[in-house]
């Protein structure tokens, strides 16, 4: 059952890749000037493959649920994978509302990256600690993830808007920040590539070090240590010795991973720029030339309108009900709770700016991008760095 489950996830992953290619074909197949309204053959094949992938991933989810005896949303790998699946689900629904293949070209790669990112974390099925043994586990987590996924579609639409609307012939603040977003995406690819290479090579280096309480402890690095732990000593022979040593308060292993990812991202980014002699956003620009800006703006806004209530229900209301049952109080200012509140406040501000202050088009697209950054911050940084009661097993 467990191996069937992982195979289904693998199949889903491949199908999403294929579907992206077909969506790419769907927008290429158009003649210049034609509206990107897709009832063409390529788009039909693409959405069919996407749905097939989604069903395969649903299969992964159900079989893993049966195998584990609990909803597979209990650790970082499972939650992030589910988030990727929700993103595909949300995309499918919104695709049928607006019929824009271009949205697939941007949403599916984001979902693919998220699922690939998820599988860099420990994938074994873990038993539930007492606090998680509740039906609210799947009710709260799935609704919250779904809400975030719908909001993420708004990011994809916002990104399309910006790639089309930002003028690439001059260097501006907009081009800078758009490249920053591109670099962020490329660094995620960097992380996945580096982690996969070293995991394939089975790289291991053990260190003893002094932790912040002055106690001797050990770390097992799975990437060459550019950054070593406090008073760290390399035990495994023939491994790379760290260049810099960190103070005890910093988790050197995580920092090391971050630096590898950013460096790999930088390398990739510059390679692409050297070869293409253009900004990344400028490379993507021809893809979006036929899209109607109004329509993309509307999709972005609509996704926020649909996603916001779902997010509120899942990430705040269901969360509060469960917190009252499991932790005796519905709200406790745990970092994850606070970041859910921050996300909620941000989108509330977004809606007010849009409805009452008339922020639309480019401004609204930037807000959609920032919102996604906050969601990702809550998923990655809060889990891995700040932690707290929601500390999923990650590392």
């Amino acid at each position: 059952m467990v191996s069937l489950s992982s195979n289904l996830l693998y199949i889903a992953f491949v199908l999403y890749l294929v579907a992206t290619a077909f969506f790419g074909g769907a927008i290429k197949g158009k003649k210049e000037g034609q509206e990107a309204k897709g009832s063409n053959k390529w788009a039909k094949i693409a959405i069919t493959i996407t749905i097939a992938g989604f069903i395969a991933q649903l299969g992964y989810f159900i079989t893993r649920w049966i195998a584990a005896g609990h909803a597979p949303v209990s650790n970082l790998f499972e939650f992030t994978t589910f988030f990727g699946m929700s993103l595909v689900g949300a995309f499918i629904v919104i695709y049928f509302m607006y019929q824009t293949p271009l949205l697939g070209v941007f949403t599916l790669p984001v979902a693919i990256l998220i699922i690939a990112y998820a599988s860099m974390f420990p994938r074994e099925i873990s038993p539930l600690i007492p606090a998680l043994q509740s039906d609210w586990l799947h009710i709260h987590v799935t609704t919250a993830a779904l809400g975030e996924a719908i909001l993420a579609v708004s990011f994809a639409a916002g990104l399309i808007y910006l790639i089309k609307s930002v003028d690439q012939s001059v260097k501006t603040k907009s081009t800078f920040w758009l490249e920053a977003v591109m670099y962020g995406i490329v660094s995620t690819i960097g992380f996945i590539v580096v982690a996969s290479i070293f995991s394939f090579a089975d790289y291991q280096a053990e260190f003893t070090y002094t932790d912040k309480n002055g106690v001797q402890a050990t770390y097992e690095y799975h990437m060459p240590a550019l950054i070593g732990p406090n008073e760290g000593e390399l035990i495994t022979e023939g491994r790379f010795a760290p260049i810099v040593e960190t103070p005890a308060i910093i988790n050197s292993k995580k920092l090391n991973t971050v630096i590898w990812s950013l460096a790999a991202g930088l390398l990739l980014y510059w390679l692409i720029r050297l070869v293409a002699r253009k900004r990344l956003a400028a490379i993507l620009k021809p893809l979006v030339k036929n899209v109607n800006l109004d329509l993309v703006d509307e999709i972005s806004y609509r996704s926020v309108l649909i996603g916001f209530p779902v997010f509120t229900l899942g990430a705040l209301i269901f969360a509060m009900i469960w917190a009252q049952i499991a932790w005796t109080r519905f709200w406790g200012w745990d970092p994850k709770e606070v970041w859910a509140l921050i996300t909620w406040l941000f989108y509330a501000a977004f809606l007010h700016l849009r409805l009452s202050k008339g922020w639309h088009g480019e401004k609204s697209a930037w807000l959609a991008v920032i919102g996604f950054v906050i969601i990702m911050f809550n998923l990655i940084v809060v889990n891995l760095v700040i932690a707290g009661l929601h500390s999923y097993a990650g590392s």
């Binding site: 467990v2 195998a67 584990a68 607006y98 420990p122 074994e124 099925i125 873990s126 038993p127 600690i129 007492p130 606090a131 043994q133 509740s134 912040k212 308060i249 800006l293 109004d294 703006d297 509307e298 806004y301 609509r302 309108l305 649909i306 916001f308 209530p309 509120t312 229900l313 209301i317 509060m320 009252q324 049952i325 499991a326 005796t328 109080r329 519905f330 406790g332 200012w333 745990d334 970092p335 606070v338 970041w339 509140l341 921050i342 406040l345 941000f346 509330a348 501000a349 007010h352 700016l353 409805l355 009452s356 202050k357 008339g358 639309h360 088009g361 809060v382 700040i386 707290g388 097993a393």
Partner: protein
Amino acid sequence: MNEVKCECGHVNPHGTVLCESCGNILEEKERQKQLVDMRYEGSARRSQTYNKTIVDKIWNFFSSVKVGVWLIVVTLVASALGTILPQEMYIPPVGTAAEYYEDQYGWFGKLYYDLGFHNLYSSWWYLILIASIGISLVICSLDRVVPLYRALNKQRVTRHEGFLKRQRLFGVSDTPPSSDSLQKLKDNLKKKRYSIREENGNILAEKNRFSRWGPYVNHVGLIIFLIGGMLRFVPGMYIDQVVWIREGETKVIPETEGEYYLHNDQFILELYDKENDGEVFGEALDRNGMVVKNYQSNVTLYKKDGDTVPGEEPELDKVKDFQIRVNEPLKFEGFALYQVDYKLNELNKMTFTLQEKETGKEFGEIQIDLFDPKKSYELANGYSVDVMSYFPDFEFNSDGEPATKSRIPNNPAFIFKMITPDNPEGEISFVAIQETIEPMGDNEYKMAFKAAETKNVAGLTVRKDLTLWIISLGGLIFMIGVVQGAYWNHRRLWVRAVDGKVWTAGHTNKNWHGLKRELDDIFAGTGLDVPKEQLTDDGKKG
């Protein structure tokens, strides 16, 4: 107050931009624009009309969406600051908070503590921010909902030409208003669930007006939620206590005014193991080591029967047996008892024997209840042991004297006086774990440690929260309002015959794309032109 009378005869409140009834433009400025501002139907908002007294100024400040958004953004940033370092409630309870932050996080920790960020969410300025958002919610909503209600309630079917041609979607059909095409249009509108009003052959088709109230409904929900949060500070509304109960012990439940008692039969801690819990978890258990499966207190709840005088043993009636687990609190009469903490193997009783050192001969055993030691233990044949001092949690204090850190027997120590026929005055012996001191020189007898009995202790939170239903109600109303506002759109279509032509204008509060597609369907087969987008790329709104 100078009211404004429109040419259609309707009397509007002072400050109205578009006549509530016919939509005629009442303010000269507005006439210059290509499109009218439909945001609040051009109604007279207090904040846009008066700005003289101090009340006006406060009202205008809080009714501004700009101010509201700033409040949200500042709260957002402040909330984020509080997650940089753990809040005081999450740090381990050793030493003072000031020391902890400086120890762990250096100068930054000290700064964080000095700024009060270790208790950020209960700081006065954070509470002021939340309160300001609350005030802003009330005033913003009132400022808009009342005039909006008037305008939507008083709107009439026949709208002013100036109003129609300044709508975002507008069209003039040259076809004369034949009843055939209008009938077809009406049929199509009905199919799309529009409600239709007619006046002199003119049409107003409208649907989902209720979605306009969504924002105000959700604001009401939020206000109720915030009021619920405030009520927590009213005495008696909210109880948060922890009670520790040892196995075999019966304790009064705090805050129940001596009405309820709880007996702890057993505390259970279970771990996952590979044999019984299925091999799927094998890999995870190998990597993470021990994983807890269950924390459970088997308890019995009792209710006091009748009145008791202080000091008298109460008579208890059993209410029920219950197994308290995480996620499964014991509930009774508005109270809930939660499994939150535990302590395994706490020392409970210790057994010693009185022994003659030279011969090893024993003269009887004493068992000391570490929570209630007796002053003196009589043994047979004129032997006895007095407990002169008892230190449940022994340490040497700063003066080098024996003392106790707490009343919990973490490290019990005794000063015994052993009275034997050989030494009727008694010999003094200081006995701690793994340590014996004989302060008066060598003794002939000693207290030899024999056995210890331990018990598990359950830590339970006693909770009563009378604000929960208000908070839930607020949450429910918020959800209804937000769904009402987000998932439906208020759409209108006006049709008016002007000089033998048909004028049409469409409006929606959001999702214009959806309205346009719907109008394409509605106008299909009517022979009338679909109203067209009049807005150019600049200045579009959602």
